[in-house]
């Protein structure tokens, strides 16, 4: 199945980001296609390279970047990002900033859009 994933919450503060990541890993393992991942609201904080978590903890931004390196389209909403000081310069590799039109296309093209957040 072709899936798109929408993430509303920031890293560490909320489990949504971890749940989404685990969901995507499980979906890929089952052979599903991830049409794209879209970060909205505080979710835009998930992919800043400025984060530096303790070494014995998961590095959430790097995890997303690794998924991006596999060719999954990872998009950060520009309107939500600008409001929160997230710009191209602070992004980890393999993710991009773009508009809500990208979310629209993911929603239309995927068979299921799965949202994570409150």
């Amino acid at each position: 199945m072709k899936l798109a994933v929408l993430i509303y919450e920031g890293p560490y503060n909320h489990e949504a980001s971890d749940s989404a990541y685990n969901f995507i890993q499980a979906a890929l393992a089952k052979g599903h296609e991830i049409r794209g991942i879209f970060f909205y609201h505080d979710g835009v904080y998930n992919v800043t390279k400025l984060m530096e978590p303790p070494q014995d903890d998961r590095h959430i931004a790097n995890r997303w970047s690794e998924l991006g390196a596999k060719g999954i389209d990872i998009v950060v909403c520009i309107a939500a990002a600008k409001r929160r000081g997230i710009v191209d310069d602070v992004l980890v590799p393999n993710v991009r900033i773009s508009g809500l039109g990208q979310l629209t296309m993911m929603a239309i093209e995927a068979e299921r859009l799965v949202s994570f957040g409150d």
């Binding site: 929408l6 509303y8 909205y40 609201h41 309107a79 939500a80 508009g99 809500l100 039109g101 979310l103 629209t104 296309m105 929603a107 239309i108 859009l113 949202s115 409150d118």
Partner: protein, 133 residues
């Protein structure tokens, strides 16, 4: 092809103020309305407060977005509903609802339509996507 137009529903369950979810959710609606999609919006639970007329956000120090909700019809978003039970639980009636635009033909003011949970459930079952804010 008309048959390929995807049905996208927005549900708004959170109160309009106190967090940014509802406001940023409104921005998504306005963008998606520009695409070839069949958009509907349903306000449930505390989300019905977003459709209450006469919101004053000046003391919150935020711009507020009631005015934008007031022109939803201009964005071609006219399938706007509020959940009857959520309204009644909060002591709200149809008279409390804000105007979201005017009817293209009659120029009468358009307000969200109050419907029952069963109707909402039936509409949900037809959707390609449901986005929650």
């Amino acid at each position: 092809m008309a048959g390929d137009v995807k049905k996208i529903m927005f549900t708004v369950r959170k109160p309009p103020h106190g967090s940014i979810y509802v406001y940023e959710g409104l921005e998504v609606k306005l963008i998606m309305a520009a695409y070839d999609a069949d958009i509907s919006v349903v306000f449930l639970d505390d989300g019905v407060y977003a459709m209450k007329a006469g919101q004053d956000t000046s003391k919150l120090g935020i711009k507020g977005f009631e005015k934008t909700y007031g022109v939803l019809v201009d964005y071609e978003i006219s399938k706007v509903f509020v959940d009857r039970q959520s309204m009644e639980e909060r002591g709200l009636t149809e008279e409390d609802l804000l105007v979201i635009g005017e009817d293209e033909e009659t120029e009468e003011p358009v307000r969200p339509k109050m419907i029952d949970s069963a109707e909402i459930a039936a509409m949900m079952a037809e959707q390609h996507n449901i986005l929650c804010f």
